[in-house]
Amino acid sequence: MLGFDIQIWIKTAAFVGAGIAMGLGAIGAAIGIGYTAACANIATSRNTKISGTLFKSMLVGQAITESTAIFSLVIAVLLIYLDIPKPTLLKAAALLGAGICMGFGAFGSGVGSGMPAGKACLGIERQPAMTGRLMTTMLIGSAVCQTPAIFAMVISLMLIFIDFGNSPLFPTWAALIGAGLSTGLAAIGSGYGGGLAAGASCEGVARQPQSVGTVITAMLVGQAVAQTASIFGLLISFILMFKTYPESTTLSASMALLSAGISMGFGGIGPGIGNGLAAEGAVKWVARNLEHSGDLIRTMLVGQAVSQSTAIYAMVVSLVLIFVV
């Protein structure tokens, strides 16, 4: 079966990868954009006089949310049209991994970016005088929220363009698909979690305009911790891509590397969302109870640290699968 012309395998992997990248990548951004539009509609119905401002804010928020789908589109178009200079079976695996990475990786950031955009529209309706500050808060929050999708795009581009020419096909093929799974899946949690924190900060700024500095600080600290799950995923992807493996045609050698990606990828989803929930709770109450922001941020960090532990277990299992067994 492996005896087909190599171009057949390259094209098959690239086309399937492009489908996965764009198909899964479209889900998150669409949900996020829909949420923003829903919030903008609610806000407009409450205060029709500022419908122009709300419409403009909705479009700005949606444009940022759209970017995750555009990342997916770029990767899908690259996969479809790119000429691979040195086609090998290993490159075919790398192209499939690139598609998987971008498809899953765009999901969380797309849904997440919609939340600050929606909450900013509701906030503008509540405090039209705060439009500028709410837009700034939304832009900062959404930008941080995009980073997991950008990590996924970086790994996808590396998988597409790096020449893995001299590595043995077995088991490196599994390492490359595992690298795609690790960053792609882990980005879901961090993207969504970052969005929860950013949404709460837009809501909080609208409620207590004088709290804007503290709220943004709490949001950024919370989002930074929520990002760590996707950074673990990125780390495992880098190790999987750049470690050199001794040639081994056994099934177990390949499956260990694939499983390392599965473990870290899925393992990063929960802690990313959990850290985001903790940050959402803290940011929301920092805005309502400004004088106790220190206590709240401390509790958030302690809670996030505990929530993070399962991502660390997943990373340990991945590292054992790569280096020990």
Binding site: G189, L251, A256, F266, A278, S307
Partner: protein, 82 residues
């Protein structure tokens, strides 16, 4: 690709370990996040009881963590013992 029976079993154990730890980590992560969010809410409403609330949060999270530790144990068993 030379595939033997023992090799398939070992490969299955590796994949099983990855799935056990990967999926098993989702629940505790989300659950502990909800606990932390609610603890922040409670401290926001009643800041004087911050110490008691943080303690309760940590105990609750420790219990939620147990399923993550089960997953870790199963993953390590699959990797090293079976």
């Amino acid at each position: 690709m030379a595939i033997e029976g023992a090799d398939i079993v070992k490969a299955a154990a590796f994949i099983g370990a990855g799935i056990a730890m990967g999926l098993g980590a989702i629940g505790p992560g989300v659950g502990e996040g909800i606990t932390a969010a609610k603890a922040c809410e409670a401290i926001g409403k009643n800041p004087r009881e911050a110490g008691l609330l943080t303690r309760t949060m940590l105990v609750g999270q420790a219990v939620a963590e147990s399923t993550g530790i089960y997953s870790l144990v199963i993953a390590l068993l699959l990797l090293f013992v079976v």
